[in-house]
Each structure stands twice: as C-alpha cells, then as structure tokens.
C-alpha cells in the first residue's frame, strides 16, 4: 500500500504564507461564521472562504471525494433536517407559523403517531443559511490537507504555544506514517500468503471485525516493540531536559502580520456585531417572500 500525503508544493500565495498565520485565519473565520444566521453575513464569509480556496489551486480530481462526502452530508442531513423539521440553531424563530408553502398530516399505522410536516419559506431560508454555514467551513478547511506541509506541523504548533513535547510528538507522528504504511503493506502480504482473504471477510458484523485482528495486531505490536528503541535512544540523548530547536524555523513576513491582523479584526468584528449591535440573527429577505407569492 502506498500512502501519499495529499500535500504538494503548488507555488501559491496561500502556501507562501506562514502556517501559523493561516491557522489563526482559519480558526478566526470559523469562530466568526458560526455566530451568524443572517444570509448577508454568511454570504460575506462564504465569499471570503472562496477567496482563500481558489488561490490554493486544488483540482476537482484531488478534491472530488471529499466534496462528494461534504455535499451529501450538507444536502441530505442538514438540508432535509432544516426543511422538514425546521429545528436547530435559532429554533424559536421557526416555531411561529411562518409563510406556509406546503403541509401534510400522516398517521403512522399501528402506533397512532401523527407526522405533520410543514414547509415554510422561513424553513427554506433557514436550510439555505445552514448549508452556507457548513459549506463555508468546508471550503475553509478542505485545503488544509492539500496545502500544509506535514513536516511543518510540529514547529507550527510549537510556535503557536503548544508544549515542546507535544509538538515533537506531532512531528514524530508524521514521520512514522510512511514506515507504518510499509509495515501494514508487508503484514497484509504476509497474511495473504497464509491464506487470509481480506477481500472476502465472511460472517456477521462482529466476526468481520474480529477477523481484522490479524492485520491490526501484528502492525501495532511490532510498532510498539520498535518504539522502545526510539524511547531508549531519546532518553540517552537526554530528550526533554532543555527546550529543543527545530530544523525548520518559521519567520513571519509582513503579509503574515496583515493576515493575522485581518483575522483578529474579523473575529473581533463578528463578536462586536453579535453582542453589542445584536445584528446577524436569522433573516428572511423580502425578495424571497415575494418569490413565493407572499
């Protein structure tokens, strides 16, 4: 099995930014966007996310799988949830009768329950807002896997304030991945040579899970045995006694300071708008009401 990082150098502006500044921006936008239900604000954040996404130069081929997953999740779970039940988020706004487009009443045979779905203009707008919010977050975070160099995770989070040991652990984890992938591949081949048919795991659900053990156990236990040597080597070199240095040092450029300032302004502005001005709640545009004949 070949495991390849989705990351590759693309020579884009996004990748030229300091990874710390990018994380600050991503988290600032995420914590800003989740404060709003107003389509106008959500459209602004979605536009901002797209301005971040497109310069990353990700291809459809690369991202097709994740987009399929995200779109199914967004449309099926959130869309239908919002339109049919209309709950979640600003529930109290949707409790009112609203502008009814369609309603029905179905009795469930045998149990005596009644299902009373109502579709209102408000629920449709709410579904749209919910989708925009989730898509904005997806647009922001999908490029992470493709544009962040895995070798820089450790130093990035160390410089963002994580303890040295935890940051080193992150760094080490990314370095272990290719070795463990090779070990998994060797184990899979070895088990196949012994007649283990991974493609035809028979039996019930529990039996199938149990039959994964011949793959998972040897890889895990071999890795643990090998790790003892690493622990010993690190102990012999007095790991953890002093702050460590990093092979790759990060330095902020002026553009990074600009991005951090923009991030802080966005988050600060969002909090200000929501708490002091009390703007950004759920909003149904008049144009949408007119569109549906109200």
């Amino acid at each position: 099995m070949l495991i390849a990082w989705r990351y590759r150098e693309r020579n884009t502006l996004i990748q030229k930014l300091d990874p710390r500044a990018r994380w600050i921006f991503l988290l600032a936008v995420m914590f800003s966007v989740i404060q709003f239900w107003d389509l106008r604000f959500l459209a602004f954040f979605m536009g901002l996310s797209l301005m971040y996404y497109f310069p990353a130069r990700l291809t459809w081929k690369e991202t097709r799988r994740v987009w399929t997953f995200v779109l199914i999740l967004v449309v099926v779970i959130i869309g239908i949830n919002a339109v049919i039940t209309g709950r979640g988020g600003p529930t109290e706004i949707l409790r009112g009768a609203g502008h009814v487009l369609w309603e029905a009443q179905w009795a469930v045979p045998g149990v005596g329950w009644t299902i009373h779905p109502i579709i209102t203009v408000e629920k449709i707008v709410f579904a749209l807002a919910q989708m925009m919010r989730m898509l904005t977050i997806a647009i922001l975070f999908i490029p992470v896997a493709f544009t962040f160099n895995p070798n820089h995770y450790g130093v990035t989070f160390r410089r963002l304030g994580l303890p040295d040991k935890v940051a080193f652990s992150m760094d080490l984890a990314f370095r272990f991945v290719p070795t463990l992938a090779r070990d998994f591949s060797l184990t899979l081949d070895a088990q196949r040579a012994r007649g283990y048919e991974v493609e035809k795991l028979e039996g019930g659900l529990l039996a199938q899970i149990r039959k994964m053990a011949p793959l998972i156990v040897p890889v895990t236990i071999n890795a643990i045995v090998g790790a003892e040597d690493i622990v010993n080597a690190m102990d012999l070199r007095c790991f953890g006694l002093r702050p460590r240095t990093w092979l790759h040092e990060l330095r902020y450029a002026p553009r990074d300071y600009v991005l951090i300032a923009v991030s802080a302004a966005l988050l600060g502005g969002a909090i200000l708008v929501r708490t002091l001005l009390r703007v950004g709640d759920f909003w149904v545009p008049d144009a949408v009401l007119r569109l549906f004949g109200f």
């Binding site: 975070f141 992150m170 990314f174 790991f239």
Partner: protein, 182 residues
Amino acid sequence: MERKKWYAFGTREVVYSALGAALYGVLSFATNMIALPAAGNLALRPAVCIPMFFGVAFGPWVGFISGFLGNIIGDAISGFGFWFWWDLGNGLMGLIPGFAASMIADYRATRSFIIADLFSILGVIVGMGLASLSEMWVSGVDLSTAIVGYFVPAALTNIVNGIILVPILMVAYAAIVGRTGR
C-alpha cells in the same frame, strides 16, 4: 513496578503518542480501503481501537494525542480536510480509556478486559457525543438530528470495534510487555 502518575508526559509518552497517532491515521486509511460491508451509512473503522488501546496501555495523554492527531493524520492522508470537533472527539475516545491504565496490572485478566471495555465505551459516548453535539453550534442541526444522524451511527460502530479489538490488542501486548523492562 513503580507506577507513573497518570498525567506524566515523558519521553515514553512522547514516542507512544506519536506512534499511536501515526498508527491510527494509517490504519484508518488502510482499513477504509478494505471496505467492510455495513448497513446503511455506517462506516466501520476498526482502527478506532488504536487510541483506546494506547490510552489503556500508556495513559490518558497518549490516548488523547493518538486519537486527536491520528484523526487529523487520517484525514490528511485521505484528503478530508480538518474537522476540529471530530478530531477532539476522537481524542476523548483515547483519553478516557487512559484513566483505566492505572487500574490494569495484568493485560490478560478478564477483569482488565471489562475495565478497558467499560472505559472505552465511556470514551466513545463522551467523544462522539461531544463531536455530534458540536454539529448543533457548528452546523445548526437540532438535538435529535445530532443524536440520530451523527451520534448513534458513530458511537455504535466505534463501541463494537472497541470492545472486540481492544482486548485482543491487550492480550498481544501482554506477551511483549515483560520484554520492555519498563
């Protein structure tokens, strides 16, 4: 044998956290490629046993980093982006079984299996519960959708995987634990 404090994070914990995270990431990706037939939209991830087992064997911090970072690595390999609350939920799935570490002396004893499984179940409930409920303030879904749409499928499959595979890993680990001399 001298017992370490549960919050200790020395060289051993650094290495095993990294190892657990890498294993969880690689095995999540690998076992996703080997599609296990499951009902509906339930995706079986046998690799979830890794953070639980690393928690049980090496303590809560190791379990937490294995789950949290491992999920990030798995998503990075698969190209699935970054989903903070689900990463955190996976971290909790390793952290909580880690509190069982101090109660387990013999990795082959039935009592140890029961303790490990109970803590693993609790870890899944708390971890997947937090991740599912986070969808209420992130995506704005209602409580019933968070529970039925997110929590139940995720928790159910993770619990089943955990309670079967964690004891198997414990038995295998028992065979080598004496060799480490720790």
